[in-house]
Symmetry: C2
Subunit: 320 residues, 2 copies
Amino acid sequence: MASGVVGEEVRNKQVILKDYVSGFPKESDMQVINGTMKLKLQEGSHGIVVKNLYLSCDPYMRIRMTRVEGPNVITSYTPGFPLTGFGVAKVLDSGHPNFKKGDLIWGTTSWEEYSLITELEGLIKIEHTDVPLSYYTGILGAVGQLVGQFAKLMGCYVVGSAGSKEKVDLLRNKFGFDEAFNYKEETDLDGALKRYFAEGIDIYFENVGGKMLDAVLLNMRDHGRIAVCGMVSQYNLAQPEGVQNLMCLIFKRIHMDGFAFFDYYNVYPKLLDVVLPYIREGKIKYVEDIAEGLESGPAALVGLYSGHNVGKQVVLIARE
Amino acid sequence: MASGVVGEEVRNKQVILKDYVSGFPKESDMQVINGTMKLKLQEGSHGIVVKNLYLSCDPYMRIRMTRVEGPNVITSYTPGFPLTGFGVAKVLDSGHPNFKKGDLIWGTTSWEEYSLITELEGLIKIEHTDVPLSYYTGILGAVGQLVGQFAKLMGCYVVGSAGSKEKVDLLRNKFGFDEAFNYKEETDLDGALKRYFAEGIDIYFENVGGKMLDAVLLNMRDHGRIAVCGMVSQYNLAQPEGVQNLMCLIFKRIHMDGFAFFDYYNVYPKLLDVVLPYIREGKIKYVEDIAEGLESGPAALVGLYSGHNVGKQVVLIARE
């Protein structure tokens, strides 16, 4: 695993996937093992060696725990090897002109203490360190809390949906959404949406899928727009739920767009230009749920699917 | 039914809906009755009296045979009253400055020999009579045959799907599609699509829904586009089928747009400017299935849902 690197071996704790997962992931689907790693690059390498500081727990990671057949933009994890995901790391050694020792970076890394990264495309150097480093794991990932706040800043009426009273309070009181409801307490999602959107929904940010999408379709306004970012309710199902109300797309002439972060790397610096001032000025509130230590990673990741986390779930491996 | 009109009464044969329909519509869900009609407008009326010449049979009409609850862009038919739909008609009397006696019009009319039309918005005067009048019933409605031919004219590789050997031959040989297949003979739609689209589908014109949409989603290319016009496979179901593969919207960043003709009335003259020359020059082939006489209307309409028609289904009421 440490090919391409030389020098003294150090311990390299890792979170590996034991085997492909079906249904809800369990902590026991992963294992924390002690590997070893050399921290100097071989002569001629164009990669970088990094010390991982913060890891991001993201719902889509569940999809990668399933064997994905055929070509797909989402590749499966390999049993026996560490998970990969977004993280913040510090460069220890670099064979690439864009990065030098001591640089802080954000991008795809592995769930381990130290990583050799050879695919550098998509890695971004962190230039502003006046916000907590951990925030970088979430500014592209913690979309639930950010999108609603962006919408508020643009003057929208914003209603959020979450799975506990604590989170609903957070949406209303800390993030300043106009309304929020606990979808677990609503037996009739269609009725709940009608309660908050008497005149229908103009814009829906889709991160849930399944029954919520079906209820939303019934409540969209003519020419409404749906940004499809994720469908967390579906990731643990062997067969996705069927969505029945797609004829509303025609009746209401709805515009529905799937998107994924990797198409927008080029505008990431622009996003930071917008978001960092908002964060510094307190116009955007950002809430994190930080699990300490790589050992706590499996529980933190699994907790996403029962809604255990409050705020963006991050794993702290090392402070620097 | 003839309020707003005066003068001598004439017979007015009508096709009425007997009651709301569940499942596949049957001829007996409709009834041909003999009403009466006066053909002169009352003084001060701003409507028009027309003689209906051709009626259009369109799949979406099935939706209107169901009781639709709540506000909806598609309104239900009223049992005991004639069906309404697109048609070509001749103006017999007019109280509106845009129309005069003898004008030929295209737009929403009723399934009867003579109609009083008071909602004139969306009625379009037919200016060009060098193509058969019946064509006007289909140029906005017979999308299946037109869209593929437009795509060919724009240089696309076009594959059509139809429900009989005769129609598949028509798509290949008359309309010039590159390939066509009989979806009723395919036990594995995903496999069929992979056979014709080894590199995936860039653009899907959605008129089917259900299992076809699910198979298409699996075969779309990254950033593919789906124009959602109709979902004929769903109109006779009490509960629409669930579509399971919507996560492909994200994985493939698909753009999906519902649309309906009534948003585009303003560009209808432009459509005619494009299509009529194509028809005159034979660059677009247009196939009609004409049922003669209003009495044949119910069978013609019902036949749509078993795929009985070959080409655009039209009902001829009177030649002029």
